[in-house]
């Protein structure tokens, strides 16, 4: 196979097998590290969880104490001929093991809320997704057209971009209090924060992307008689779409990062609320489970969008998309129809 393939070559691709292997390793290595620290006591385990208190009057079963404190207490107990404590080395409560997080991942979804009226975990997740979705959609609704116009027409660019450039340096969270005052305490201010966090970047990013369009395509269309409307919708927009789509995937990632800030504005909701609750109960495995859910939603969405993008923009590699192949199967070619 690729027996003599080198691992490090400037700007060269690796074999598909290696690429696949590295992708798996990219997830496996952190997992292995995490497992090692969790399951091999010699590596860290700085605390002792007490199983039997013996004659100690200071500690209860289940307490976690420093190794040093545990040793000192046991030495004191031994000196006074008392029964020593029995315990096992553990990691701190904020560092749960993989199996605990995996369990929590499952139980988080099936555990009833502690109090009446509190949302289930899946409802919290759905709430978060909803907030991001609306923030991002609203931002895109204005940001994308405005970005494209700025990219195409210098008049729009010079009128809009200087202020946007200035505004984007205001961190979105500083508008939290203002958003609550204006929009109330429900989801509106949260959506507003995500909007503010996304919109200004979006205009600039998409304007720049639009400027990278090969404008000789526009000129070609002009010499074919195309007028401004058609130039915009049939040339500039199709030309910019693949890169714009890529931008949108990256921007969606940014919108997610604003979620946690947005959710603590006004009343705390969604995954952030869940995380804060669980941290208060010191259920850290649930905290990690919730964080992982955020990661999975983000990565999952992006992978789905990437797959859709590969089909939508199959022409970039000169391929036919799955959609068009489906379509061409169901609709007979004109020659056959006649």
């Amino acid at each position: 196979m690729y027996k003599h393939e080198k691992w490090f070559r400037f700007g060269k691709d690796l074999s598909p097998e290696r690429v696949r292997g590295l992708t798996i390793a990219s997830f496996m290595l952190p997992l292995i590290l995490w497992s090692a620290i969790s399951y091999i006591p010699a590596l860290w385990h700085p605390e002792v969880q007490i199983n039997e208190t013996g004659d100690s009057i200071y500690f209860d079963a289940g307490d976690r104490v420093d190794v040093e404190t545990f040793a000192l207490e046991n030495k004191n107990l031994a000196d006074s001929d008392s029964i020593p404590m029995v315990g096992k080395r553990v990691n701190p409560v904020y560092f749960p093991a993989p199996h605990e997080v995996t369990k929590a991942f499952y139980y988080a979804f099936v555990t009833e809320p502690r109090r009446d009226g509190e949302p289930w975990f899946h409802e919290s997740v759905a709430h978060s997704v909803r907030v991001v979705f609306w923030g991002f959609i609203l931002s895109s609704l204005f940001g994308v057209p405005l970005g494209i116009l700025c990219g195409v027409f210098t008049t729009f660019s010079k009128l809009i971009e200087p202020f946007v450039e200035f505004f984007r340096y205001f961190p979105a969270p500083v508008f939290g209090a203002l958003a609550v005052a204006i929009l109330g305490i429900n989801d509106a201010p949260k959506v507003a924060i995500i909007f503010i966090g996304t919109f200004f970047q979006q205009v600039l990013v998409i304007a720049n992307t639009t400027r990278t369009v090969d404008f000789s395509l526009v000129e070609a269309a002009q010499t074919l008689g195309a007028k401004p409307g058609r130039l915009l919708f049939k040339v500039v927009i199709p030309a910019v779409l693949p890169k714009l789509y890529m931008d949108m995937r990256i921007l969606l990632g940014w919108a997610w990062t604003y979620l946690i800030v947005a959710e603590v504005v006004g009343t705390s909701t969604g995954i952030s609320w869940f995380i804060n609750q669980q941290a208060k109960y010191r259920m850290f495995e649930n905290v990690y489970a919730a964080i992982l859910v955020l990661g999975f939603i983000g990565l999952g969405t992006d992978m789905i969008l990437a797959a859709i993008g590969r089909q939508l923009f199959a022409w970039e590699g000169g391929r036919k998309s799955v959609f068009s192949r489906l379509f061409s199967k169901t609709v007979p070619a004109p020659a056959e129809a006649l």
Binding site: E219, A220, L224, A226, V235, W315, G318
Partner: protein, 300 residues
């Protein structure tokens, strides 16, 4: 190369055979399709304005094949882009069928040096683009597009994307796309400049074939003198800084053209004449050399 004329006993490029003269007279008797009248182009620069083109005027007749050549910086691309109205006109007029034009339009089709096919459209849909702009129904546009692709020999590739075609094939599609609109004049801005030598030779043959089949006037920019002589009825030579018309040369090579003619006396004499027009003559080079020597002396 430049010593050749003295050794070869070549006729003057102005000598035309009966057949060639008849052909050129016929071309010149045709109505004028596009006229460039005292065209001026200025760009703002650090010290005021820089004049790229100065009072360029010429007329192109129906069915004519006119090439424009000139040293780099003579503004030949600017002329053709102004004819397509892709550049603003500082002064002067572009007249199509006697009427001044100020906007790009389908009456002046253009083929660029860069491949400008729309990468998201199939070959067929690229050719249909202009037809649909012109208001043709989808059915008519598709039928016409396939016909035009047949003319450039690419009908079997109708459903491929541009990225799947070679550079030469892409340029043929671009020609079909421009011609499908039935323009009054086809403007070609170094269309084969990005192609390798073999493909370029093939494309020149293709273009002559197409031009023979179709009633079209062609204005062709090139920096390749062989190409200019091989393809054209007349060659407009521009000089640089600022771009001015130097001479309008009638090509005395008979038609139909074939690559065998590259070494014919008419071909060579025309090419040598163009070469002399474009590149500074031996005398000027001598003068420059004198200047260098003078400067060197003063430096001592």
């Amino acid at each position: 190369m430049m010593n050749m004329p003295s050794k070869l006993n070549l006729p003057s490029y102005k000598e035309q055979s009966q057949q060639v003269k008849a052909r050129l007279d016929e071309v010149k008797s045709q109505p004028i399709v596009i006229e460039v009248d005292k065209l001026v182009k200025e760009f703002p620069s650090e010290d005021g304005v820089r004049r790229i083109l100065d009072q360029v005027s010429f007329k192109v007749h129906k069915r004519e094949f006119l090439s424009i050549i000139g040293p780099s910086g003579c503004g030949k691309s600017t002329v053709i882009r102004m004819m397509a109205c892709l550049e603003d006109i500082t002064d002067g007029l572009i007249l199509v069928d006697g009427y001044p034009v100020s906007e790009p339009g389908a009456d002046r089709g253009m083929v660029f040096q860069k491949y400008t096919l729309f990468p998201w459209l199939t070959v067929k849909k690229n050719v249909m683009f202009g037809l649909e702009v012109g208001g043709a129904s989808k059915f008519d546009a598709e039928r016409d597009a396939l016909q035009w692709l047949d003319i450039v020999g690419l009908e079997p590739y109708a459903d491929l994307y541009p990225a799947q075609l070679s550079g030469g094939m892409q340029q043929r599609v671009a020609i079909a796309r421009a011609l499908a609109n039935k323009p009054k004049v086809l403007l070609m801005d170094e269309p084969f400049g990005a192609l390798d030598a073999q493909t370029r030779a093939k494309m020149q043959a293709y273009l002559l074939q197409i031009w023979k089949k179709i009633d079209i006037t062609i204005i062709f920019i090139t920096h390749d003198l062989d190409e200019a002589v091989y393809l054209s009825d007349r060659v407009l030579v521009l000089e640089a800084n600022p771009g001015r018309v130097q001479e309008l040369v009638e090509v005395p090579v008979s038609r139909p053209r074939s690559p065998d003619q590259f070494l014919s006396p008419e071909f060579l004499t025309t090419k040598i004449h163009l070469e002399e027009l474009i590149h500074p003559s031996a005398k000027e080079t001598q003068d420059e050399f004198e200047v260098v020597k003078m400067v060197a002396r003063e430096a001592d």
